[in-house]
Amino acid sequence: MAERARRNFELACRGVALLAIALLLWRALRPEAATGAVRANGAELADALVRWTREAPATAHVMFAALPTPRDRDWLAALGGAGTSVSWERDGQSGGTLPALALAVEPVPRPDHGVIVRVAAPPASNPMLHDDAGTIDSLVVAAGGAVAWLPGVAGSVAADGSHGAASDVVRDSLELRLVLVLGAAGWESRFTIAALEESGWQVAAQLRVSPMASVVQGGADRIAIDTSSYSAVIALDSTAAARADVIARYVRSGGGLVLAGQAAAVPAFAPLRAGTPAARQTGIIGAVRSDDPRRGLPLRPIESLRRDAMVIDRLNDRVTMAARRVGAGRVVQSAFEDSWRWRMEGEGGALAAHREWWNDAVAGVAFASRSDRAATAFQRGDPAPLAALHDQLGGPSSPDVIEGARAALIIPTWLLAGLAALALLLEWASRRLRGAP
Protein backbone atom coordinates (compact mmCIF):
# COMPACT_ATOMS: atom_id res chain seq x y z
CA MET A 1 0.00 0.00 0.00
CA ALA A 2 2.81 2.39 1.01
CA GLU A 3 4.71 1.35 -2.08
CA ARG A 4 1.74 2.23 -4.28
CA ALA A 5 1.32 5.67 -2.60
CA ARG A 6 5.02 6.32 -3.09
CA ARG A 7 4.79 5.49 -6.79
CA ASN A 8 1.77 7.81 -7.15
CA PHE A 9 3.73 10.60 -5.43
CA GLU A 10 6.63 10.07 -7.84
CA LEU A 11 4.25 10.16 -10.77
CA ALA A 12 2.72 13.39 -9.48
CA CYS A 13 6.19 14.93 -9.05
CA ARG A 14 7.06 13.94 -12.59
CA GLY A 15 3.77 15.38 -13.87
CA VAL A 16 4.40 18.70 -12.08
CA ALA A 17 7.93 18.79 -13.42
CA LEU A 18 6.78 18.03 -16.97
CA LEU A 19 4.03 20.68 -16.74
CA ALA A 20 6.49 23.27 -15.49
CA ILE A 21 8.98 22.34 -18.19
CA ALA A 22 6.19 22.50 -20.81
CA LEU A 23 5.20 25.95 -19.59
CA LEU A 24 8.81 27.02 -19.66
CA LEU A 25 9.16 25.69 -23.17
CA TRP A 26 5.96 27.51 -24.21
CA ARG A 27 7.30 30.71 -22.71
CA ALA A 28 10.61 30.12 -24.37
CA LEU A 29 8.93 29.77 -27.73
CA ARG A 30 6.74 32.87 -27.11
CA PRO A 31 8.71 34.80 -24.54
CA GLU A 32 6.85 37.84 -23.18
CA ALA A 33 4.82 37.89 -26.40
CA ALA A 34 2.50 35.26 -25.07
CA THR A 35 0.59 37.84 -23.07
CA GLY A 36 0.74 41.51 -22.11
CA ALA A 37 -0.67 43.87 -19.55
CA VAL A 38 -0.10 47.59 -19.19
CA ARG A 39 -1.42 50.31 -16.97
CA ALA A 40 -2.59 53.79 -18.08
CA ASN A 41 -2.74 55.50 -21.44
CA GLY A 42 0.59 57.15 -21.72
CA ALA A 43 3.94 56.12 -23.13
CA GLU A 44 3.66 52.69 -21.53
CA LEU A 45 0.61 51.87 -23.64
CA ALA A 46 2.20 53.37 -26.74
CA ASP A 47 5.28 51.16 -26.25
CA ALA A 48 3.13 48.13 -25.53
CA LEU A 49 1.09 48.67 -28.68
CA VAL A 50 4.25 48.67 -30.76
CA ARG A 51 5.54 45.58 -28.97
CA TRP A 52 2.24 43.71 -29.22
CA THR A 53 2.01 44.52 -32.91
CA ARG A 54 5.44 43.00 -33.43
CA GLU A 55 4.95 40.02 -31.13
CA ALA A 56 1.23 39.28 -31.65
CA PRO A 57 0.52 38.04 -28.10
CA ALA A 58 -2.38 35.70 -27.44
CA THR A 59 -3.85 38.08 -24.87
CA ALA A 60 -3.39 41.72 -24.05
CA HIS A 61 -4.94 43.46 -21.09
CA VAL A 62 -5.04 47.23 -20.54
CA MET A 63 -5.84 49.04 -17.35
CA PHE A 64 -7.11 52.49 -18.34
CA ALA A 65 -6.83 55.43 -15.99
CA ALA A 66 -8.71 57.55 -18.54
CA LEU A 67 -10.58 57.04 -21.78
CA PRO A 68 -8.11 56.06 -24.50
CA THR A 69 -7.55 58.24 -27.50
CA PRO A 70 -9.23 57.11 -30.72
CA ARG A 71 -5.78 56.18 -32.05
CA ASP A 72 -4.99 53.86 -29.14
CA ARG A 73 -8.48 52.42 -29.18
CA ASP A 74 -8.37 51.74 -32.92
CA TRP A 75 -4.94 50.16 -32.52
CA LEU A 76 -6.19 47.82 -29.80
CA ALA A 77 -9.18 46.93 -31.96
CA ALA A 78 -6.82 46.16 -34.82
CA LEU A 79 -4.80 43.87 -32.54
CA GLY A 80 -8.04 42.17 -31.63
CA GLY A 81 -8.83 41.76 -35.29
CA ALA A 82 -5.38 40.19 -35.83
CA GLY A 83 -6.00 37.46 -33.27
CA THR A 84 -4.91 38.89 -29.95
CA SER A 85 -7.56 38.67 -27.27
CA VAL A 86 -7.75 42.26 -26.00
CA SER A 87 -9.39 43.05 -22.68
CA TRP A 88 -9.55 46.16 -20.52
CA GLU A 89 -10.69 47.47 -17.20
CA ARG A 90 -10.54 50.71 -15.25
CA ASP A 91 -7.24 51.00 -13.46
CA GLY A 92 -7.63 50.22 -9.80
CA GLN A 93 -11.17 48.86 -10.13
CA SER A 94 -11.29 45.20 -10.96
CA GLY A 95 -13.62 44.76 -13.89
CA GLY A 96 -14.82 48.36 -13.52
CA THR A 97 -15.69 50.72 -16.34
CA LEU A 98 -14.74 54.38 -16.82
CA PRO A 99 -16.99 57.40 -16.15
CA ALA A 100 -19.07 58.21 -19.22
CA LEU A 101 -18.53 61.39 -21.17
CA ALA A 102 -20.44 62.32 -24.29
CA LEU A 103 -21.00 65.47 -26.28
CA ALA A 104 -23.41 66.47 -29.03
CA VAL A 105 -23.30 69.70 -31.01
CA GLU A 106 -26.32 70.71 -33.05
CA PRO A 107 -27.24 73.85 -34.94
CA VAL A 108 -30.15 75.82 -33.50
CA PRO A 109 -32.84 77.15 -35.82
CA ARG A 110 -32.01 80.77 -35.13
CA PRO A 111 -30.88 83.40 -37.60
CA ASP A 112 -27.65 83.93 -35.67
CA HIS A 113 -26.59 80.35 -36.48
CA GLY A 114 -25.86 79.45 -32.88
CA VAL A 115 -25.23 75.90 -31.75
CA ILE A 116 -26.46 74.00 -28.75
CA VAL A 117 -23.98 71.79 -26.91
CA ARG A 118 -25.27 68.93 -24.78
CA VAL A 119 -22.83 67.17 -22.48
CA ALA A 120 -23.39 63.95 -20.55
CA ALA A 121 -20.91 63.48 -17.71
CA PRO A 122 -20.95 62.32 -14.09
CA PRO A 123 -23.05 64.62 -11.84
CA ALA A 124 -21.17 67.49 -10.20
CA SER A 125 -18.26 67.20 -12.62
CA ASN A 126 -16.94 70.27 -14.43
CA PRO A 127 -15.89 69.44 -17.97
CA MET A 128 -14.16 72.23 -19.84
CA LEU A 129 -15.57 73.24 -23.22
CA HIS A 130 -13.28 74.42 -25.95
CA ASP A 131 -13.16 74.68 -29.70
CA ASP A 132 -10.34 75.05 -32.19
CA ALA A 133 -9.96 78.71 -31.25
CA GLY A 134 -9.44 78.05 -27.55
CA THR A 135 -11.20 77.58 -24.26
CA ILE A 136 -14.87 78.57 -24.14
CA ASP A 137 -16.05 77.90 -20.60
CA SER A 138 -16.48 75.23 -17.97
CA LEU A 139 -19.81 73.52 -17.41
CA VAL A 140 -21.47 72.50 -14.18
CA VAL A 141 -23.07 69.13 -14.79
CA ALA A 142 -26.31 68.41 -13.00
CA ALA A 143 -27.97 65.01 -12.75
CA GLY A 144 -29.32 65.29 -16.26
CA GLY A 145 -26.15 66.53 -17.89
CA ALA A 146 -25.41 70.06 -19.04
CA VAL A 147 -26.59 72.20 -21.94
CA ALA A 148 -24.94 75.31 -23.32
CA TRP A 149 -25.95 77.59 -26.15
CA LEU A 150 -23.07 79.12 -28.05
CA PRO A 151 -23.43 81.90 -30.61
CA GLY A 152 -20.87 80.22 -32.83
CA VAL A 153 -17.94 77.82 -32.69
CA ALA A 154 -14.67 77.51 -34.56
CA GLY A 155 -14.06 74.02 -35.87
CA SER A 156 -14.70 71.12 -33.56
CA VAL A 157 -16.05 71.40 -30.02
CA ALA A 158 -14.60 69.28 -27.23
CA ALA A 159 -15.42 68.68 -23.59
CA ASP A 160 -12.45 67.74 -21.44
CA GLY A 161 -13.30 65.81 -18.31
CA SER A 162 -11.10 64.28 -15.65
CA HIS A 163 -11.28 60.87 -17.37
CA GLY A 164 -11.01 61.83 -21.01
CA ALA A 165 -12.39 64.05 -23.74
CA ALA A 166 -15.35 63.96 -26.10
CA SER A 167 -15.44 65.91 -29.32
CA ASP A 168 -17.95 66.67 -32.03
CA VAL A 169 -18.42 68.93 -35.04
CA VAL A 170 -21.53 70.56 -36.46
CA ARG A 171 -22.59 68.32 -39.31
CA ASP A 172 -25.85 69.85 -40.48
CA SER A 173 -26.75 73.24 -41.77
CA LEU A 174 -30.23 74.54 -41.26
CA GLU A 175 -32.22 76.37 -43.84
CA LEU A 176 -34.56 78.81 -42.17
CA ARG A 177 -37.66 80.12 -43.85
CA LEU A 178 -40.08 82.96 -43.23
CA VAL A 179 -41.89 83.53 -39.96
CA LEU A 180 -45.55 84.42 -40.46
CA VAL A 181 -47.17 86.79 -37.98
CA LEU A 182 -50.96 86.86 -37.91
CA GLY A 183 -52.89 89.33 -35.79
CA ALA A 184 -54.70 92.62 -35.64
CA ALA A 185 -52.85 95.86 -36.28
CA GLY A 186 -51.61 96.94 -32.88
CA TRP A 187 -48.57 97.42 -30.76
CA GLU A 188 -48.17 93.72 -29.96
CA SER A 189 -48.08 92.82 -33.66
CA ARG A 190 -45.83 95.70 -34.51
CA PHE A 191 -43.25 95.05 -31.81
CA THR A 192 -43.32 91.28 -32.27
CA ILE A 193 -42.38 91.82 -35.90
CA ALA A 194 -39.73 94.35 -34.87
CA ALA A 195 -38.19 91.97 -32.33
CA LEU A 196 -38.01 89.13 -34.86
CA GLU A 197 -36.64 91.26 -37.67
CA GLU A 198 -34.02 92.76 -35.40
CA SER A 199 -33.00 89.20 -34.49
CA GLY A 200 -32.52 88.39 -38.16
CA TRP A 201 -35.72 86.52 -39.00
CA GLN A 202 -37.39 87.19 -42.33
CA VAL A 203 -40.94 88.08 -41.42
CA ALA A 204 -44.14 87.96 -43.42
CA ALA A 205 -47.23 89.37 -41.76
CA GLN A 206 -50.91 89.84 -42.28
CA LEU A 207 -52.34 92.33 -39.80
CA ARG A 208 -56.01 93.10 -39.90
CA VAL A 209 -56.96 96.77 -39.88
CA SER A 210 -60.63 96.46 -40.76
CA PRO A 211 -62.91 93.57 -41.76
CA MET A 212 -62.05 94.21 -45.38
CA ALA A 213 -58.45 95.39 -45.14
CA SER A 214 -55.18 94.08 -43.83
CA VAL A 215 -51.64 95.35 -43.92
CA VAL A 216 -49.62 92.67 -45.66
CA GLN A 217 -45.90 92.25 -45.45
CA GLY A 218 -43.67 89.80 -47.30
CA GLY A 219 -46.42 88.32 -49.47
CA ALA A 220 -48.26 86.80 -46.52
CA ASP A 221 -51.57 86.91 -48.40
CA ARG A 222 -50.16 85.00 -51.37
CA ILE A 223 -47.82 82.40 -49.89
CA ALA A 224 -49.42 79.12 -48.86
CA ILE A 225 -48.84 78.16 -45.24
CA ASP A 226 -46.60 75.11 -45.50
CA THR A 227 -43.15 74.04 -44.44
CA SER A 228 -41.64 74.91 -47.79
CA SER A 229 -42.35 78.58 -47.08
CA TYR A 230 -42.54 79.10 -43.34
CA SER A 231 -40.40 78.05 -40.41
CA ALA A 232 -43.03 79.16 -37.91
CA VAL A 233 -46.39 80.85 -37.60
CA ILE A 234 -47.22 83.23 -34.77
CA ALA A 235 -50.88 83.71 -33.97
CA LEU A 236 -51.35 86.74 -31.75
CA ASP A 237 -55.11 86.97 -31.48
CA SER A 238 -58.44 85.79 -32.83
CA THR A 239 -57.83 87.19 -36.31
CA ALA A 240 -55.74 84.08 -37.05
CA ALA A 241 -58.72 81.82 -36.37
CA ALA A 242 -59.91 82.04 -39.98
CA ARG A 243 -56.81 80.10 -41.01
CA ALA A 244 -56.79 77.67 -38.08
CA ASP A 245 -57.42 74.60 -40.27
CA VAL A 246 -54.53 75.42 -42.57
CA ILE A 247 -52.30 76.17 -39.61
CA ALA A 248 -53.20 72.84 -37.95
CA ARG A 249 -52.30 70.99 -41.13
CA TYR A 250 -49.05 72.94 -41.34
CA VAL A 251 -48.12 72.04 -37.76
CA ARG A 252 -48.91 68.35 -38.23
CA SER A 253 -46.63 68.28 -41.23
CA GLY A 254 -43.71 69.62 -39.20
CA GLY A 255 -44.27 73.36 -38.88
CA GLY A 256 -43.91 75.42 -35.72
CA LEU A 257 -46.65 77.47 -34.08
CA VAL A 258 -46.51 80.11 -31.37
CA LEU A 259 -49.91 80.71 -29.80
CA ALA A 260 -49.58 83.96 -27.92
CA GLY A 261 -51.97 85.48 -25.43
CA GLN A 262 -55.50 85.74 -26.71
CA ALA A 263 -54.98 83.42 -29.69
CA ALA A 264 -54.75 80.38 -27.42
CA ALA A 265 -58.24 81.14 -26.13
CA VAL A 266 -59.73 80.91 -29.62
CA PRO A 267 -61.72 77.65 -29.88
CA ALA A 268 -60.36 77.01 -33.36
CA PHE A 269 -56.90 76.55 -31.84
CA ALA A 270 -58.08 74.29 -29.01
CA PRO A 271 -56.80 71.07 -30.66
CA LEU A 272 -53.33 72.56 -30.91
CA ARG A 273 -52.80 74.39 -27.65
CA ALA A 274 -50.86 72.99 -24.69
CA GLY A 275 -53.46 73.95 -22.11
CA THR A 276 -56.48 76.09 -21.46
CA PRO A 277 -55.87 79.80 -21.00
CA ALA A 278 -57.42 81.11 -17.80
CA ALA A 279 -59.14 84.46 -17.47
CA ARG A 280 -56.99 87.47 -18.17
CA GLN A 281 -55.02 88.75 -15.21
CA THR A 282 -53.61 92.25 -15.21
CA GLY A 283 -49.95 92.83 -14.54
CA ILE A 284 -48.62 94.45 -11.41
CA ILE A 285 -48.51 98.20 -11.90
CA GLY A 286 -44.93 99.38 -12.24
CA ALA A 287 -43.47 95.87 -12.24
CA VAL A 288 -42.58 96.11 -15.90
CA ARG A 289 -39.68 98.28 -14.75
CA SER A 290 -38.60 95.77 -12.12
CA ASP A 291 -36.01 92.98 -12.25
CA ASP A 292 -38.65 90.65 -13.65
CA PRO A 293 -40.64 92.77 -16.12
CA ARG A 294 -42.95 89.87 -16.97
CA ARG A 295 -44.74 90.46 -13.66
CA GLY A 296 -45.98 93.73 -15.10
CA LEU A 297 -47.55 92.15 -18.17
CA PRO A 298 -51.14 91.00 -18.43
CA LEU A 299 -51.41 87.25 -18.87
CA ARG A 300 -53.74 84.32 -19.21
CA PRO A 301 -52.14 81.55 -17.13
CA ILE A 302 -52.12 78.16 -18.81
CA GLU A 303 -54.26 75.66 -16.92
CA SER A 304 -55.47 72.10 -17.52
CA LEU A 305 -52.30 71.18 -19.32
CA ARG A 306 -52.54 68.30 -21.75
CA ARG A 307 -50.73 65.15 -20.74
CA ASP A 308 -48.22 65.54 -23.54
CA ALA A 309 -47.51 69.20 -22.76
CA MET A 310 -44.30 70.34 -21.15
CA VAL A 311 -44.03 73.40 -18.94
CA ILE A 312 -41.31 75.72 -20.17
CA ASP A 313 -41.76 78.70 -17.91
CA ARG A 314 -43.60 79.71 -14.77
CA LEU A 315 -44.26 82.99 -13.04
CA ASN A 316 -44.71 82.29 -9.37
CA ASP A 317 -47.06 79.31 -9.45
CA ARG A 318 -48.66 80.16 -12.78
CA VAL A 319 -47.67 78.42 -15.99
CA THR A 320 -46.76 81.10 -18.50
CA MET A 321 -45.27 79.03 -21.28
CA ALA A 322 -45.85 75.43 -22.31
CA ALA A 323 -45.13 73.37 -25.38
CA ARG A 324 -46.22 70.15 -26.99
CA ARG A 325 -45.72 68.16 -30.13
CA VAL A 326 -48.55 67.94 -32.60
CA GLY A 327 -47.89 65.46 -35.36
CA ALA A 328 -44.46 66.23 -36.73
CA GLY A 329 -44.57 69.85 -35.57
CA ARG A 330 -44.33 71.75 -32.33
CA VAL A 331 -46.55 74.28 -30.60
CA VAL A 332 -45.51 76.67 -27.89
CA GLN A 333 -48.18 78.56 -25.99
CA SER A 334 -47.42 81.80 -24.22
CA ALA A 335 -49.66 83.27 -21.55
CA PHE A 336 -48.43 86.83 -21.93
CA GLU A 337 -50.26 89.64 -23.65
CA ASP A 338 -48.91 93.07 -24.52
CA SER A 339 -45.30 91.95 -24.36
CA TRP A 340 -44.48 95.18 -26.19
CA ARG A 341 -44.70 97.00 -22.86
CA TRP A 342 -41.67 95.02 -21.73
CA ARG A 343 -39.67 96.37 -24.68
CA MET A 344 -40.91 99.94 -24.45
CA GLU A 345 -41.22 100.49 -20.71
CA GLY A 346 -38.70 98.09 -19.22
CA GLU A 347 -35.36 99.05 -17.73
CA GLY A 348 -32.04 99.21 -19.60
CA GLY A 349 -31.78 95.75 -21.14
CA ALA A 350 -35.49 95.39 -21.86
CA LEU A 351 -35.17 95.91 -25.59
CA ALA A 352 -32.65 93.07 -25.96
CA ALA A 353 -34.48 90.86 -23.47
CA HIS A 354 -37.79 91.21 -25.31
CA ARG A 355 -36.07 90.51 -28.61
CA GLU A 356 -34.37 87.42 -27.16
CA TRP A 357 -37.60 86.17 -25.61
CA TRP A 358 -39.36 86.21 -28.97
CA ASN A 359 -36.31 84.77 -30.69
CA ASP A 360 -36.25 81.86 -28.25
CA ALA A 361 -39.99 81.24 -28.55
CA VAL A 362 -39.77 80.99 -32.33
CA ALA A 363 -36.50 79.02 -32.35
CA GLY A 364 -38.09 76.51 -29.98
CA VAL A 365 -40.67 75.48 -32.56
CA ALA A 366 -39.20 76.55 -35.88
CA PHE A 367 -39.08 74.11 -38.72
CA ALA A 368 -35.77 74.14 -40.56
CA SER A 369 -34.78 71.72 -43.25
CA ARG A 370 -31.45 70.07 -42.58
CA SER A 371 -28.81 69.43 -45.15
CA ASP A 372 -25.51 67.65 -44.66
CA ARG A 373 -22.69 70.05 -44.58
CA ALA A 374 -19.31 69.26 -46.04
CA ALA A 375 -16.93 68.71 -43.15
CA THR A 376 -15.39 72.06 -42.37
CA ALA A 377 -13.58 70.94 -39.25
CA PHE A 378 -11.37 68.03 -38.35
CA GLN A 379 -12.98 65.98 -35.66
CA ARG A 380 -10.39 65.43 -32.99
CA GLY A 381 -12.15 62.75 -30.99
CA ASP A 382 -15.39 60.90 -30.54
CA PRO A 383 -18.72 62.33 -29.44
CA ALA A 384 -19.06 59.38 -27.05
CA PRO A 385 -15.63 57.81 -26.40
CA LEU A 386 -16.80 55.32 -23.76
CA ALA A 387 -19.50 54.03 -26.07
CA ALA A 388 -16.92 53.74 -28.83
CA LEU A 389 -14.62 51.83 -26.46
CA HIS A 390 -17.38 49.39 -25.58
CA ASP A 391 -18.29 49.10 -29.23
CA GLN A 392 -14.77 48.29 -30.36
CA LEU A 393 -13.32 46.34 -27.44
CA GLY A 394 -16.40 45.17 -25.58
CA GLY A 395 -17.06 45.85 -21.94
CA PRO A 396 -14.48 45.68 -19.18
CA SER A 397 -13.19 42.18 -18.51
CA SER A 398 -14.79 40.14 -15.78
CA PRO A 399 -12.61 39.61 -12.72
CA ASP A 400 -12.25 35.86 -13.44
CA VAL A 401 -10.85 36.45 -16.86
CA ILE A 402 -8.56 39.11 -15.50
CA GLU A 403 -7.36 36.92 -12.69
CA GLY A 404 -6.62 34.17 -15.19
CA ALA A 405 -4.62 36.52 -17.31
CA ARG A 406 -2.90 37.89 -14.27
CA ALA A 407 -2.04 34.43 -12.96
CA ALA A 408 -0.29 33.62 -16.19
CA LEU A 409 1.62 36.84 -15.83
CA ILE A 410 2.36 36.57 -12.13
CA ILE A 411 4.16 33.13 -11.99
CA PRO A 412 7.72 34.10 -12.83
CA THR A 413 10.04 31.92 -14.90
CA TRP A 414 12.47 31.21 -12.02
CA LEU A 415 9.59 29.85 -9.99
CA LEU A 416 8.54 27.51 -12.77
CA ALA A 417 12.15 26.32 -13.20
CA GLY A 418 12.55 25.81 -9.47
CA LEU A 419 9.25 23.96 -9.32
CA ALA A 420 10.37 21.63 -12.11
CA ALA A 421 13.75 21.06 -10.43
CA LEU A 422 12.17 20.43 -7.04
CA ALA A 423 9.65 17.98 -8.48
CA LEU A 424 12.36 16.07 -10.33
CA LEU A 425 14.57 16.09 -7.22
CA LEU A 426 11.76 14.72 -5.06
CA GLU A 427 10.97 12.00 -7.59
CA TRP A 428 14.67 11.08 -7.90
CA ALA A 429 15.11 11.00 -4.06
CA SER A 430 12.01 8.89 -3.59
CA ARG A 431 13.09 6.40 -6.21
CA ARG A 432 16.63 6.17 -4.74
CA LEU A 433 15.29 5.69 -1.20
CA ARG A 434 13.15 2.79 -2.30
CA GLY A 435 16.07 1.34 -4.32
CA ALA A 436 14.60 1.85 -7.72
CA PRO A 437 16.89 2.83 -10.60
Binding site: A185, G186, D338, R341, L351
Partner: protein, 203 residues
Amino acid sequence: MSEFVFATGQYESGDWDSAPLVPANLIDSLARYTSLSVAPSGAIVPLGSEALLRYPFVWVTGHLPVRFTEAERRMVRTYVERGGLLFVDDHNHDIDGAFHRTATEEIARTVGPLVELPNDHALYRCFFEFPDGPPSTSHELNGWGDNLVHTHLMAVMHEGRIGVLYSNKDYSSEWGYHPDSKRFLSVDNTRFGVNLIVHALTR
Protein backbone atom coordinates in the same frame (compact mmCIF):
# COMPACT_ATOMS: atom_id res chain seq x y z
CA MET B 1 -54.95 93.43 -26.34
CA SER B 2 -54.31 97.04 -25.40
CA GLU B 3 -56.19 99.74 -27.28
CA PHE B 4 -54.56 102.48 -29.26
CA VAL B 5 -54.33 105.76 -27.39
CA PHE B 6 -53.68 108.90 -29.40
CA ALA B 7 -51.02 110.78 -27.44
CA THR B 8 -50.02 114.40 -27.82
CA GLY B 9 -46.50 115.27 -26.79
CA GLN B 10 -46.06 118.02 -24.24
CA TYR B 11 -42.74 119.84 -24.17
CA GLU B 12 -41.42 122.58 -21.91
CA SER B 13 -40.77 125.23 -24.58
CA GLY B 14 -43.23 126.55 -27.19
CA ASP B 15 -46.93 125.87 -27.63
CA TRP B 16 -47.37 122.11 -27.69
CA ASP B 17 -51.18 122.45 -27.41
CA SER B 18 -51.71 124.60 -30.48
CA ALA B 19 -53.96 122.07 -32.26
CA PRO B 20 -56.30 120.69 -29.61
CA LEU B 21 -58.94 119.41 -32.04
CA VAL B 22 -56.63 117.11 -33.99
CA PRO B 23 -56.66 114.13 -31.56
CA ALA B 24 -60.43 113.83 -31.44
CA ASN B 25 -60.65 114.21 -35.20
CA LEU B 26 -58.14 111.45 -35.91
CA ILE B 27 -59.66 109.18 -33.28
CA ASP B 28 -62.98 109.67 -35.05
CA SER B 29 -61.41 108.79 -38.40
CA LEU B 30 -59.82 105.63 -37.01
CA ALA B 31 -63.17 104.54 -35.63
CA ARG B 32 -64.88 105.30 -38.95
CA TYR B 33 -62.52 103.47 -41.25
CA THR B 34 -60.94 100.70 -39.22
CA SER B 35 -61.83 98.05 -36.68
CA LEU B 36 -58.87 98.93 -34.50
CA SER B 37 -59.44 99.14 -30.80
CA VAL B 38 -59.09 102.86 -30.11
CA ALA B 39 -59.39 104.76 -26.84
CA PRO B 40 -62.21 107.30 -27.21
CA SER B 41 -60.11 110.13 -25.88
CA GLY B 42 -56.48 110.99 -26.31
CA ALA B 43 -53.73 111.46 -23.77
CA ILE B 44 -51.23 114.19 -23.14
CA VAL B 45 -47.76 112.95 -22.31
CA PRO B 46 -44.72 115.03 -21.32
CA LEU B 47 -41.80 114.25 -23.62
CA GLY B 48 -39.44 114.28 -20.64
CA SER B 49 -41.46 111.76 -18.69
CA GLU B 50 -41.04 107.98 -18.62
CA ALA B 51 -44.76 107.86 -19.38
CA LEU B 52 -43.76 108.67 -22.95
CA LEU B 53 -42.77 104.99 -23.36
CA ARG B 54 -46.39 103.92 -22.83
CA TYR B 55 -47.39 105.54 -26.11
CA PRO B 56 -45.44 104.24 -29.11
CA PHE B 57 -47.06 106.88 -31.35
CA VAL B 58 -46.91 110.50 -30.21
CA TRP B 59 -48.05 113.59 -32.05
CA VAL B 60 -46.05 116.79 -31.55
CA THR B 61 -46.94 120.20 -32.97
CA GLY B 62 -46.45 123.90 -32.32
CA HIS B 63 -45.72 127.34 -33.76
CA LEU B 64 -43.01 128.59 -31.46
CA PRO B 65 -39.31 127.80 -31.10
CA VAL B 66 -38.60 124.37 -29.64
CA ARG B 67 -35.81 123.62 -27.21
CA PHE B 68 -35.88 120.25 -25.53
CA THR B 69 -34.72 119.96 -21.96
CA GLU B 70 -32.08 117.38 -21.14
CA ALA B 71 -34.76 115.08 -19.79
CA GLU B 72 -36.78 115.47 -22.99
CA ARG B 73 -33.75 114.71 -25.15
CA ARG B 74 -32.92 111.65 -23.10
CA MET B 75 -36.43 110.28 -23.19
CA VAL B 76 -36.98 111.00 -26.90
CA ARG B 77 -33.72 109.23 -27.68
CA THR B 78 -34.78 106.20 -25.63
CA TYR B 79 -38.23 106.34 -27.19
CA VAL B 80 -36.88 106.13 -30.72
CA GLU B 81 -34.35 103.43 -29.81
CA ARG B 82 -37.11 101.29 -28.33
CA GLY B 83 -39.23 101.63 -31.47
CA GLY B 84 -41.54 104.57 -30.82
CA LEU B 85 -42.69 106.88 -33.62
CA LEU B 86 -42.73 110.61 -32.99
CA PHE B 87 -44.73 112.58 -35.55
CA VAL B 88 -43.72 116.25 -35.52
CA ASP B 89 -45.82 118.68 -37.53
CA ASP B 90 -44.90 122.32 -38.11
CA HIS B 91 -48.03 124.29 -37.40
CA ASN B 92 -46.48 127.23 -39.30
CA HIS B 93 -46.26 125.29 -42.58
CA ASP B 94 -43.03 126.91 -43.68
CA ILE B 95 -39.34 126.10 -43.92
CA ASP B 96 -37.94 129.24 -42.41
CA GLY B 97 -40.16 129.64 -39.41
CA ALA B 98 -39.07 129.47 -35.84
CA PHE B 99 -40.63 126.07 -35.20
CA HIS B 100 -39.09 124.47 -38.28
CA ARG B 101 -35.56 125.69 -37.65
CA THR B 102 -35.50 124.88 -33.98
CA ALA B 103 -37.44 121.62 -34.17
CA THR B 104 -35.26 120.17 -36.93
CA GLU B 105 -32.12 121.22 -35.04
CA GLU B 106 -33.44 119.63 -31.90
CA ILE B 107 -34.40 116.40 -33.66
CA ALA B 108 -30.98 116.19 -35.34
CA ARG B 109 -29.24 116.77 -32.06
CA THR B 110 -31.36 114.22 -30.24
CA VAL B 111 -31.80 111.30 -32.62
CA GLY B 112 -30.02 112.14 -35.88
CA PRO B 113 -30.48 114.06 -39.10
CA LEU B 114 -33.75 114.11 -40.98
CA VAL B 115 -33.79 112.74 -44.51
CA GLU B 116 -36.46 112.88 -47.19
CA LEU B 117 -38.91 110.02 -46.96
CA PRO B 118 -39.45 108.56 -50.45
CA ASN B 119 -42.96 109.09 -51.77
CA ASP B 120 -43.28 105.39 -52.53
CA HIS B 121 -42.81 104.50 -48.86
CA ALA B 122 -45.23 102.01 -47.35
CA LEU B 123 -46.66 104.84 -45.24
CA TYR B 124 -48.47 106.14 -48.32
CA ARG B 125 -50.23 102.90 -49.19
CA CYS B 126 -50.69 100.97 -45.95
CA PHE B 127 -54.43 101.74 -45.84
CA PHE B 128 -55.46 104.56 -48.17
CA GLU B 129 -53.44 105.03 -51.32
CA PHE B 130 -51.42 108.22 -51.74
CA PRO B 131 -49.46 107.56 -54.93
CA ASP B 132 -47.98 111.06 -55.00
CA GLY B 133 -46.72 110.99 -51.45
CA PRO B 134 -48.00 113.15 -48.63
CA PRO B 135 -51.30 114.86 -49.50
CA SER B 136 -51.13 118.61 -49.84
CA THR B 137 -52.96 120.75 -47.35
CA SER B 138 -55.29 123.63 -48.15
CA HIS B 139 -52.84 125.96 -46.40
CA GLU B 140 -50.07 125.01 -48.79
CA LEU B 141 -52.31 125.32 -51.84
CA ASN B 142 -53.58 128.72 -50.72
CA GLY B 143 -50.02 130.05 -50.67
CA TRP B 144 -49.81 130.58 -46.98
CA GLY B 145 -46.63 130.17 -45.01
CA ASP B 146 -43.58 129.84 -47.23
CA ASN B 147 -45.72 129.73 -50.37
CA LEU B 148 -44.38 126.24 -51.18
CA VAL B 149 -46.05 122.88 -51.61
CA HIS B 150 -43.79 120.49 -49.74
CA THR B 151 -43.50 117.33 -51.77
CA HIS B 152 -41.88 115.13 -49.12
CA LEU B 153 -42.02 114.41 -45.46
CA MET B 154 -38.75 114.06 -43.60
CA ALA B 155 -37.80 111.21 -41.32
CA VAL B 156 -35.18 109.85 -38.99
CA MET B 157 -34.92 106.14 -39.59
CA HIS B 158 -33.99 103.65 -36.88
CA GLU B 159 -33.48 99.92 -37.56
CA GLY B 160 -35.21 100.39 -40.92
CA ARG B 161 -38.27 101.96 -39.32
CA ILE B 162 -39.44 105.53 -38.98
CA GLY B 163 -38.36 106.88 -35.61
CA VAL B 164 -39.26 110.53 -36.16
CA LEU B 165 -41.51 111.76 -38.96
CA TYR B 166 -41.39 115.47 -39.66
CA SER B 167 -43.87 117.50 -41.69
CA ASN B 168 -43.87 121.10 -42.93
CA LYS B 169 -47.33 120.64 -44.30
CA ASP B 170 -49.30 121.88 -41.33
CA TYR B 171 -51.58 118.91 -40.85
CA SER B 172 -52.27 120.48 -37.46
CA SER B 173 -54.33 123.17 -39.19
CA GLU B 174 -55.67 120.81 -41.84
CA TRP B 175 -57.10 118.36 -39.29
CA GLY B 176 -57.93 120.85 -36.58
CA TYR B 177 -61.70 120.88 -36.74
CA HIS B 178 -64.58 119.11 -35.07
CA PRO B 179 -65.16 115.61 -36.43
CA ASP B 180 -68.77 116.40 -37.25
CA SER B 181 -67.58 118.86 -39.87
CA LYS B 182 -66.24 116.02 -41.99
CA ARG B 183 -69.63 115.78 -43.63
CA PHE B 184 -68.95 119.05 -45.41
CA LEU B 185 -65.86 117.68 -47.11
CA SER B 186 -66.04 115.94 -50.48
CA VAL B 187 -62.92 113.94 -49.57
CA ASP B 188 -62.02 113.38 -45.96
CA ASN B 189 -58.68 115.10 -45.47
CA THR B 190 -57.86 113.08 -42.35
CA ARG B 191 -57.37 109.90 -44.36
CA PHE B 192 -53.62 110.43 -44.33
CA GLY B 193 -53.81 110.64 -40.55
CA VAL B 194 -55.33 107.16 -40.58
CA ASN B 195 -52.39 105.96 -42.66
CA LEU B 196 -49.97 107.50 -40.16
CA ILE B 197 -51.45 105.55 -37.30
CA VAL B 198 -51.99 102.30 -39.20
CA HIS B 199 -48.38 102.44 -40.33
CA ALA B 200 -47.19 103.04 -36.79
CA LEU B 201 -49.25 100.07 -35.59
CA THR B 202 -47.98 97.68 -38.25
CA ARG B 203 -44.42 98.56 -39.29
